[in-house]
């Protein structure tokens, strides 16, 4: 196929373009950074001219851009988007017959399917095992460990703008942080919605989603700190993150952010335990991190993310924790049982190689077109 690939995101972008080229597709790229996702005449014009000048079979992007969707619709060209953010903030104005939208979150997909959208599909994420194997070679033997327990991820320490817009009052801000804190105690129950509805906070309809997102990010922040703090009382913890703010108050080894392609794979492989605490805005989907950990031969302990159970088996491929106490016990146990850890890492690695490589995923995507 002749593909015009829209470049704007970081993760998976270069992996995907590389794989598409290797599969024999003709690939051109167009790069842009949107300020306003809703209206941008300059870009719309630029894209239209490009698409009229050269004939493409599809336009492809990671995440969804309404303006691309509009232009493609006008010109009758298929627009393929693979959404891997939850929630997808730019996912609006998407009901066009030329769109082929792939969602990585099954519960989101089911929601749209129930509404009758036949152009929306479910496509979980995947990892580029080909690139990873170029880095290390295949996973043969138990690696040399540099770290005990690693956590790689953003801590979301800044309580976001939409909340600051809602209220000036420190007390009100405190209440919202309290709501987020309470939500950390529950995996499947949504406490935020009833709390906000009964709270008496005034906000506009269209800022409700943004408020919920911010509360979930705050819940994620608190949860990650809670867990790292608790674990740091028992074990040595290595944190790879853009921030070290509140975590500066408790004893962990802080390393700064890790580069996705050049550093992250080594961290995953060289940690005895890789911890995943899923971003709270991702309801059921498997985050990219988990596929990457498996693809790098890492051993995973994670919150029990629902869709994981569709493809992987607890205690065979990874270990889920059910509470903070449970997490501490499991970390203690598995730090002392390296063989079991490696056996699970191998099992997950095999499964990813067989069914969850980016190569396989892209094939699945093209089959739906």
């Amino acid at each position: 196929m002749r593909i015009l690939f829209f470049k704007s995101n970081k993760f998976m972008q270069s992996d995907i373009t590389e794989l598409l080229l290797n599969s024999g597709h003709h690939l051109d790229t167009i790069t842009y950074v949107f300020q306003d996702y809703s209206k941008d005449d300059f870009f719309a014009d630029k894209l239209e001219k490009r698409l009229k000048r050269i004939s493409y079979d599809i336009v492809f992007s990671l995440n969804f851009y309404p303006i691309i969707s509009d232009v493609c619709y006008q010109l009758g060209i298929l627009y393929v988007s693979w959404i891997y953010d939850s929630p997808a903030p730019t996912f609006f104005r998407f009901a066009r017959s030329t769109n082929r939208i792939f969602l990585f979150d099954k519960s989101e997909y089911m929601k749209y399917k129930a509404k009758g959208h036949s152009n929306i599909f479910y496509l979980p994420l995947a990892s580029n095992t080909e690139r990873i194997e170029r880095t290390f070679g295949p996973l043969l033997s138990s690696p040399e460990y540099l770290y005990n327990i690693s956590f790689l991820g953003v801590l979301y320490d800044k309580f976001n703008l939409s909340v600051q817009n809602l209220t000036d009052s420190q007390y009100d801000l405190g209440i919202l942080k309290g709501y987020a804190a309470a939500q950390t105690q529950f995996q499947n129950l949504d406490l935020l919605k009833p709390l906000i509805q009964e709270s008496g906070f005034l906000f506009e309809e269209d800022s409700y989603e943004a408020l919920m997102t911010d509360l979930l990010l705050e819940a994620t922040s608190q949860e990650r700190h809670q867990i790292l703090y608790l674990l740091s009382n028992h074990f040595s913890i290595d944190l790879f993150s853009t921030e070290n703010t509140r975590s500066g108050r408790y004893p962990i080894q802080y390393h700064g952010a890790a580069d996705y392609e050049n550093e992250m794979p080594f961290i995953f492989r060289q940690s005895r335990i890789n911890l995943n605490i899923t971003l709270r805005t991702i309801k059921t989907a498997i985050p990219l991190r988990i596929f990457d950990i498996f693809a790098c031969g890492g051993f995973l302990i994670t919150n029990p993310q629902k869709e994981l159970m569709d493809f992987f088996e607890p205690e065979v491929d990874f270990i889920p924790y059910t509470s903070h106490e449970d997490l501490i016990e499991k970390c203690s146990y598995y730090l002392a049982h390296e063989k079991e850890c490696f056996s699970m890492a191998q099992s997950a690695y095999q499964k990813v190689k067989e069914a969850h490589t980016l190569s396989i995923r892209l094939k699945q995507l093209f089959e739906k077109l």
Binding site: S169, Q170, Y171, D172, L173, G174, I175, L176, K177, G178, Y179, A181, A182, Q183, T184, Q185, L191, P194, L195, E198, S199, Q222, H225, Q226, Y229, R246, R249, Y250, H324
Partner: protein
């Protein structure tokens, strides 16, 4: 067996002494005076004397006492305590002595004390005292009663106001969330190191709690009390809607009722008999469990069932062990649900009567003091 019953002027002591005697045991009484809790010398002397003369098998009380625990530890006589009344002394080191045989009526507190390391711990729910006369149909003079404190006045309630606005907001936020959730107390999990630091600067940690963590101290002694207040006020505000058509009896110690509770407050009850009479006269007895009783079945439930009143209660996990919702009592899920169900059951007296009769039968057969003391004696390794 011979036992020394140490009394602390508790409501259930006379009936319990009676029960032991009816079961064939000989009860010696020791009245505890209020003392410095390290000085157990008088009791120790008494025990040594009794050991020689009457061969006491164990000492018994209905509330955990450090003095008794210390005396028993010194003399090697077992201290059997059915902890029917909350005592802060439960969190002192003397609770860990291996001469203690401790019975708890809350399954969560029971397991947390086991984890703390007590040697002989058992679960034993509360019960009703035996009624001499068989139950006859009640003469109901009121539709719903609520007897209890609204927690609007207690020492320390003002201390939290010294906290920063953002922390006050945070605590209010988590309290609002906990109010919606029954069966899973999580406030203690949300006291971060930063919040703990701020709390400690306003309210010094009470050192008498040798075995309580600071997080648990601040949540149990302050936050859950505020939650009790909020919850009870919200429920009574809701029930005010029934005031026109239904007779509601409220017995709360508060001199001034909070806003929007337009129910007449009859004040505090004088005696336990008065209390039981209130249950007897009420179609419905409302139970709103103290939030620091995490799973346990409160005394009120057994008493009201025994007196022939329909029990309305929030969800308490231990209830599931013995009673069935809608068969023996009514469990309400939130305030709306409480109001709806109150209206429904008050309009269907025949259904009420069935449930009341079921509950009463169960109490009579399985939930009297003699059932519990029998169970307790069976569990004690030295009573065989």
């Amino acid at each position: 067996m011979n036992l020394l019953f140490t009394t602390q002027k508790l409501y259930n002591e006379p009936d319990m002494i009676d029960t032991f005697e009816k079961l064939g045991h000989s009860v010696f009484i020791y009245e505890q005076q209020k003392q410095n809790n390290r000085d157990c010398s008088d009791l120790t002397e008494t025990l040594l004397h009794l050991q020689h003369t009457n061969s006491i098998s164990f000492v018994f009380s209905l509330r955990f006492s450090s003095i008794v625990s210390n005396a028993c530890h010194e003399t090697g006589i077992p201290y059997v305590c059915w902890c029917t009344v909350v005592s802060p002394e439960l969190y002192q080191r003397s609770v860990l002595y291996d001469t203690n045989y401790l019975f708890f009526y809350d399954s969560m507190i029971f397991s947390s004390l086991i984890q703390l390391g007590i040697t002989h711990g058992y679960y034993l729910p509360l019960a009703a005292a035996e009624r001499p006369a068989p139950m006859t149909p009640n003469d109901y003079t009121c539709d719903i009663n609520f007897v209890g404190s609204l927690y609007t006045v207690w020492p320390g309630i003002g201390k939290l106001s010294k906290l920063s606005p953002v922390t006050l907001g945070y605590l209010d936020g988590i309290l609002q969330a906990q109010e919606m959730i029954y069966g899973y107390p999580f406030l203690q999990n949300l006291i971060t190191p930063a919040i703990l630091e701020e709390l400690s600067s306003c309210i010094p940690f009470d050192k008498k709690y040798e075995l309580k963590s600071p997080e648990v101290f601040y949540t149990e002694d302050y936050l859950y009390k505020i939650l009790n207040r909020n919850e009870r006020i919200h429920i009574l505000q809701k029930l005010t809607a029934l005031r026109e058509e239904k007779r509601i009896l409220l017995y709360a110690p508060e001199k001034i009722l909070p806003d929007k509770i337009n129910i007449e407050n009859s004040g505090t009850l004088i005696s336990r008999n008065d209390l039981l009479a209130i249950y007897r006269q009420s179609h419905i007895t409302l139970n709103i469990t103290n939030r620091t009783l995490y799973n346990g079945i409160p005394q009120k439930v057994f008493d009201a069932m025994a007196e022939g009143s329909l029990v309305f209660s929030n969800y308490q996990q231990d209830m599931d062990l013995f009673f069935e919702n809608e068969k023996d009592y009514i469990c309400y899920e939130d305030n709306e649900d409480l109001l709806e169900k109150a209206n429904y059951y008050l309009s269907h007296p025949e259904i009420c009567q069935k449930i009341i009769a079921n509950a009463h039968k169960k109490i009579d057969q399985e939930h009297l003091y003699r059932n519990r003391i029998g169970e307790l004696m069976k569990q004690l390794p030295f009573s065989r």
